[in-house]
Symmetry: C2
Subunit: 370 residues, 2 copies
């Protein structure tokens, strides 16, 4: 996957190279927080979220574990096993949507963050913020859904907390889940472990979660059968790690900000370039159709049951077979290659033979997606 | 501390005994959730919170670690050290108050939950829900306060998450902190470990936090210098455990619901009775005055830097001395005794020589105290 490819005209190459240079310039000052007030974009998981994290949280809380900016912190307590620890808050709207609800999402999301650290999820906490007047019947449904999701994934919710705020001071219900898992990966992984030549694998079609939420929320007259892909990915991760070991260089679930944001984060952390083949990226027809109508890019839409695996090239085919043999990876695909230059950039080789810079999500087309 | 005492008339004794029987009857159906919608009382930490937990969360999530209903779950991963894991969400209003802010509170609160499990706090997660339009300058202040609290306590905030909701869908900012600590207690502790004869120690004056919040919130014309007592109690716990070991039967920070609720929980879990001496319970003059004006009982008001220690009688004096030698326990006091009968009840021997049943907090005089 050399860039630029022969089909690309000299003019387009020039344009892309100029854009690269502009982007690089911009990234010298990357993640500068100019805002005086919080905007919805700060919750997008994309560029504005990074601005906020780099501008406020990272400098204040700085420590070696946080600074790697992976989704989980990894540590040992004394001579104990290596543990992963993560947290996520869920503010998805609506609370119930095709394919799931906020409870299921809150359990799967934290399981997945632990799994991406190469950990077997063990224990979850659950913190609830309830709005005065919230129907207890709905709370029961959500809690039952969490309990079922935990049971099915073989984990336990072991500690919790409940707060209530006055009517109008929250939006029904918010949930935080934190999780502890045992790291089963016997090698170091992370978004700074990409190497030129590595292959980019995606476990299945993208955009289902985000589009399902959007269609559940808006009174759009788009008829599709798109459902959230919310699912616990830890057994898929176990299958990959137990067979491929240190050939797995990093794992990432492309949630908020989508595949585009996740790969940009990796490219920056590892100081490599990533080239994607658009034709290879699986997207369900319903999602593709909705994205076309709404002017959205499936690559920036949130997923809740998909993972990106960056693997050594000699194990790419084996990884693909392992994924496809797993119920959650049947439509897995090899979608791209890691290159040395230019560092920190992601490119998309388009279906029509062009090439474009794929940036992380800017703005927030779909607030409160998770 | 025999009940009833000689000063108490036969009439009063009768009345108390009848009330005991009524309370026992009621407790056969204790914690029955009748409500159809969430009310502010469900967030009080008192009886309605228990109704909600026992009616919704406990049956759905049931597992041995959760079922003990301590503030932290305790477990080992493989042959590793014993760990404590806890979570708390903070929705305090206002965000800044005399003696602290929501950030400091969120760090101290989770440190304290770990400490009460006999654990040395190690790592915290931080999950933020931000309302669109929230001033970033205020966020910076809160984050700086969290960072300082963590630094002073010798712990690290290692993982986090940020979500944003639309204007009007939250109240400025909510924070969840979860925490992991290493259990340093070499014996089992918990609210079901109280034994008749045990002494009840309190590390200092009660009600400061709740009253400070209330006075910061309401435009009450009460002039006091009451400040929140928010403080990290882990070094006080370490001092007690390292000297007294298994003479410490349980530790509990009386936050939402106050001392009354905390002791009722213990009495029920351990199936013992607790008798308190009102005159021995330290209360700052400002808090006492505010409570009198507002018709509140300091025993049901939240504290954020105090602990209750239930210790074997022969070590009570030693425990008191250890507390008083610590900066956060200078005004510690022995406030009561554990008795066998009647199980599940807490009594207050009043200053004027009477005795009354002290129930857990009912209703919520001070919503969003933490």
């Amino acid at each position: 996957m050399e860039a630029p490819r022969s089909k690309t005209s000299a003019h387009v190459v020039d344009e892309v190279l100029q854009k690269i240079e502009r982007t690089r310039q911009a990234r010298r000052h990357k993640f500068y927080l100019r805002d005086e007030r919080i905007t919805l974009s700060h919750g997008s998981g994309g560029k504005a979220t990074h601005n906020l994290i780099e501008g406020v949280f990272a400098p204040a809380f700085s420590n070696p574990m946080l600074d790697v900016m992976d989704d989980s912190a990894v540590f040992c307590v004394n001579d104990g096993p290596k543990l992963a620890f993560t947290t996520d808050t869920y503010v998805v709207s609506p609370l119930f949507f095709p394919g799931g609800d906020i409870g299921k999402l809150a359990v799967h999301g934290t399981i997945n963050d632990l799994a991406m650290a190469g950990a077997k999820p063990l224990y979850l906490s659950a913190g609830f913020i309830l709005e005065e007047g919230f129907p207890i019947e709905d709370l029961r449904k959500i809690v039952a859904s969490m309990a079922q999701a935990a049971r099915e994934a073989g984990i336990a919710i072991v500690t919790g907390d409940t707060k209530v705020v006055q009517r109008g001071k929250a939006d029904g219900l918010f949930i935080n889940t934190a999780g502890v898992g045992q790291v089963i990966a016997t090698h170091d992984m992370g978004q700074n472990f990409l190497r030129p030549g590595d292959k980019v694998l995606l476990s299945g079609p993208i955009g289902d979660h985000g589009i399902a939420i959007m269609l559940a929320r808006e009174a759009l007259e788009i008829e599709t059968d798109v459902e959230s892909d919310t699912a616990p990915l830890h057994t898929l991760v176990e299958a990959l790690l137990s067979s491929l070991g240190n050939a797995v260089h990093t794992l990432k679930d492309p949630t908020r900000g989508g595949v585009a944001t996740a790969l940009n984060e990796m490219a920056m952390s590892s100081e490599v370039s990533i080239g994607l083949e658009e034709h290879a990226i699986p997207v369900h027809a319903g999602v593709r159709g909705a994205c076309e109508i709404l002017g959205l890019d499936p690559l920036t839409i949130a997923n809740e049951g998909k993972l990106l695996a960056i693997v050594a090239p000699e194990q790419a085919e084996a990884a693909l077979q392992i994924m496809r043999a797993h119920p959650l990876g049947r439509e897995a695909a090899l979608i791209g290659t890691v290159q040395a230059e230019p560092p920190g950039m992601v490119f998309l080789h388009t279906d029509i033979g062009g090439m474009r810079v794929l940036d992380m999500l800017v703005g927030d087309p779909l607030p409160r997606i998770c």
